[in-house]
Symmetry: none
Subunit: 260 residues, 2 copies
């Protein structure tokens, strides 16, 4: 189970944290670390703090964008410290680990995304996630070091795995599902297609987009669409684009559509 | 509850670990740190790694022996990594936190004891404890940093305390939501509108509907749309209907739509 989980660190500034993260991961049986646009290097400090978990550092994947890091993942959970102005599905670490344990047997990869030491993840990055995880902290002092947050999540994942191995899984909705989940990359394709279509039909004004796309992302991401559902939705969008008359466009008699 | 708990570190060699432990504790709402015969000092490195949890360091208690540290505690749990030759009551961190949560209301102080970076606690030190706690780790790599072990235990203690104090619901997605859910009648209105629109644009053939509408119902119903989301979707459907040219219909130049 644990090899289907990717720990993603965004824009990390301290190499010691990268090393400590690798150590925490290896202790809990995880091995896949991805750095998105890291500011720190995987240097001597990182290796020293990893304390013999260097193999994880040697196999680290480094990418430029978060989208790239999570494109193949069926479930993406981002760490969130503050409440954001659109509520988003939120779990504690135990629930997040239980969710991962449900999703993995069906073949889905899972990503847990951790933000910058200074300011966590941006709203845009959080909007890419299916759900958020919040580690319960002292309301008067909430400044969890990123490697310690990774430690807590990896511990819960291991606990869930140990529990899993003695239980049968029934997936996130209580029944075995009929299709694999859409990957994050496939969902991105859907949302881009959706946004373009909504602009084309005049429903979304690109000059005043407001919160429409985040709300639609939230709606669809929390239902964890499978690949067939994404295909259906994209088929609908394609048909809408084909059949709409765009404002200001030259009128084209739709001979090809008649009789369909 | 958490102020009845003492974190005890025995013979610590790295001051950074003392600082990181203080930070982990404060994040989780604990405040009482005791050092037994520390080799490291509470120095600049410790203060720096504590990242504004210095008050915990300033209040640290320093004693010469473990017996002194735990003399007033009703429950003493020691961390144990290796199996010892006399089996001893052993718990995982979740069980340890549950035990602490049971014992504290009766007025007992609790101590959680952590050993040396190099070799943990000695057999004699472990024999002073009522029970042992083992953090489940990768059998091929078990080298949890002491501050990370403290982080995990403090997290479980906080989770036990939070569970104790709050049984209130926060809705199905883990956060208070921003709008009330759509009623079943409103969802029915949405699905009928959707079905009609999909027929109008030629995506759904009413003669061979197959499982399209049930699949769409399943997708949307499991995301439990709120009233605003239903309004957005119906607004989209209305705009699609307005902007599409229907198969077989007389061409109507869309003057009203131009410029919108």
């Amino acid at each position: 189970m644990l090899d289907k989980i990717q720990i993603v660190m965004v824009n990390t500034t301290h190499s010691g944290n990268i090393g400590a993260a690798a150590r925490a991961m290896k202790n809990m049986g995880l091995s896949r670390l991805t750095l998105v646009d890291p500011i720190a290097a995987v240097d001597e400090e990182a290796i020293q703090r990893s304390s013999r978990a260097e193999d994880i550092l040697h196999n680290v994947r480094i990418v430029s964008t978060l989208e790239e890091a999570i494109a193949d993942c069926g479930l993406v959970i981002g760490t969130s410290a503050r409440s954001r102005h659109i509520p988003w599905p939120l779990m504690n670490p135990r629930q997040a680990a239980a969710k991962a344990a449900e999703m993995i047997p069906a073949g889905n990869d899972v990503a847990l995304v951790f933000g910058r030491e200074s300011r966590g993840l941006t709203n845009e990055e959080l909007h890419l996630c299916h759900a958020h995880v919040h580690i319960p902290t002292n309301p008067d002092f909430s400044s969890l070091n990123v490697a310690q947050a990774i430690q807590v999540l990896c511990y819960e994942l291991r606990m869930a795995m140990v529990a899993e191995e003695t239980e049968e899984e029934e997936g996130q909705w209580g029944v075995p599902w009929d299709y694999p989940l859409a990957t994050h990359g496939e969902l991105e394709g859907l949302f881009q297609h959706m946004e373009k279509t909504l602009i084309d039909i005049g429903f979304l004004d690109p000059n005043t987009p407001k919160q429409l796309m985040p709300r639609l992302r939230r709606l669809f991401q929390r239902s964890a669409p499978d690949k067939t559902e994404v295909n259906i939705l994209r088929g609908m969008l394609a048909m809408i684009q084909k059949k709409t008359v765009r404002s200001g466009q030259e009128q084209t008699p739709p001979q090809t559509e008649q009789g369909e």
